[in-house]
Amino acid sequence: MSTSPTSLLASQNAEAASLAAEARFLASSKARNDKNSSVARIRAQEKEDNSSSSESTPAFLQSFNATYQATLQSLSSIPPTVAVTAKARLSCEGILSSAINAASELRSMTAACSHFLNPYDVRSSEQKVDELLKKIEGIKRVVVPRKKFIFKSRRSGVDRSSDFFNSESKPSVVTLGSTSRQEHDSSNSQHTYSTEYSDLSNSHTTLIHPLPPASYNHKDLRIKNVTNSTFTLLDVYGAVRLQSLKNCTVYLGCVMGPLYVEDVKDCKIFAQGRQLRIHDTYGVDFYVHMCSGPIIEKCDGLRFGEYCIDFEGKEAMVKSTGLLEVNDGKNMYFDVQDFKWLKKMKSPHFDLLDVEDEESGAVDKSENEAVKVNTKARVKREAREEEEREREEKLRNNPGAKEQAAEEEEEDSEDEL
């Protein structure tokens, strides 16, 4: 309010001009929209919304000033020194936040009543709110100064600002980032991810799913920095992240949220879930059942096939998650979208797998007893074994049929040839 009379006059003139322009606009739109103009409708609505506040200027000013003075008073109760103790800090923060709330309430009150107030009242109320907010901000800066933002793990010796300005020199930033991440992860791993396997090699982790559906995990899982390992985690997970894996095989049960894969090389991944997002990944086979098409970004040599493994309790698990009801149980694994391939023809970065062909090497069975791979060849072999068993039984029961059986066998072998 310390502006000189001349500048005040100038600004008033400018405001008057702008108001006149607005008035012209209002008038013209009103004329166009006839008496049922939208403005009127909106006003009517606002009246309903604010039926509690009465429609007169004095009433508005009275309630506005009451709140304004009360807020000012509450602010004046804060001592103008830095709040040192946690308790003082907390109480000051409480007062300040309620003051901010009051200010924003005043602002919205002004906005709501602006249709019956004259422009001067609107403007002066706005100004008061602005001043109030500025005052709150000022007090906040003095009494509860914000802590200087710094990444905790970088506190040791690394100045954040210098780091920030040197962001062009990428290599150093990258190494800094990665070390800080590691520290961060090691300090937080207990509560960050409900299940986490990281920094392993040559390990075989097996966690067979709990059988009753009530005991499914439903939490998030992360596997990070692992080489030459096998994970058999036949459980239900909320979200799964696979990061920096090399030469691994991962068997997962169901993933209720997204399965996020980043920086994975030469692995096999089996999973059922809603979303599959793959980044910076090379030479990985995915055997999945997905409710939506997978997306790949900066990948190459990927292959996608159906979720072809079987394990005890699989049906019950899938049923309890309801994954198969989505999309009518349609597996969208083939609908791969490549963000690095904008042409109409198929992206060269991935292929589809014919899982039924055992040559694709879906799995090395000897590696794992918990899961069984259903390939066409295996199904055929099982059927043949069954047949042979039946035939043998027949032979035992009925020696006369021996010749016939021999003939049949010949035919069979011809067929097979």
Partner: protein, 186 residues
């Protein structure tokens, strides 16, 4: 917001505003939009381009633009900045590893001139996950107390797009803030 755009708003028949929903990939932008609109969220796939939804909330028409967040298509975000009243920034609270990427992208947006007047609503999404960060942690990691945010109207709300908690509070704040800035004189 210049005078011209205010006048344009006054002229508009409805109280209409344009919201832009951005964030890293896998943050839950589309899920938030669909949940808010009452659609099925089970079949959502990663967004290849963008989704537009017009929502009606408390007498306002909200034109929501949900643009995909994959790294490759982030460079196209700027095509959507024009005439944006509010920016909704979605953060995957469970993703501690990429929070620095998240900060970098947000800082980048904040320095865009076309978004200078937009209110900023930050959704700390995925609070239903066990490892989710709190709003305080995210606020600190994104540097919300820094100079860049001094002059901006912003708010951060914890939410879970899957369960629906927090979404309404966030949208309420957004509409309140935009209306106090833009529809003042209507």
């Amino acid at each position: 917001m210049g005078l011209l755009s205010i006048i344009r708003k006054v002229k508009a028949k409805e109280k209409e505003c344009r919201l832009l929903i951005l964030g890293l990939d896998n943050a839950g932008k589309t899920t938030i939009l669909k949940k808010f609109n009452g659609e099925d969220i089970n079949t959502i796939s990663p967004t290849l381009g963008f989704n537009i939804k017009t929502l009606s909330h408390r007498g306002y028409l909200l034109n929501c633009w949900d643009v995909g967040g994959q790294q490759t298509i982030r460079s196209y975000w700027r095509n959507y900045f024009e005439a944006t009243d509010g920016l909704i920034w979605v953060v995957d609270s469970a993703d501690r590893v990429r929070i620095e990427d998240c900060k970098r992208e947000l800082d980048n947006l904040m320095s865009q001139e076309k978004l200078a007047g937009a209110s900023l609503m930050i959704f700390a999404n995925k609070q239903d996950l066990a490892g989710a960060m709190s709003t305080d942690e995210i606020g600190e990691a994104l540097g919300l107390n820094g100079e860049k945010f001094k002059t901006r109207h912003w708010s951060i709300v914890a939410c879970s797009a899957v369960e629906g908690g927090g979404l309404l509070e966030g949208m309420d704040w957004m509409t309140d803030d935009i209306s106090s800035r833009i529809f003042m004189l209507s």
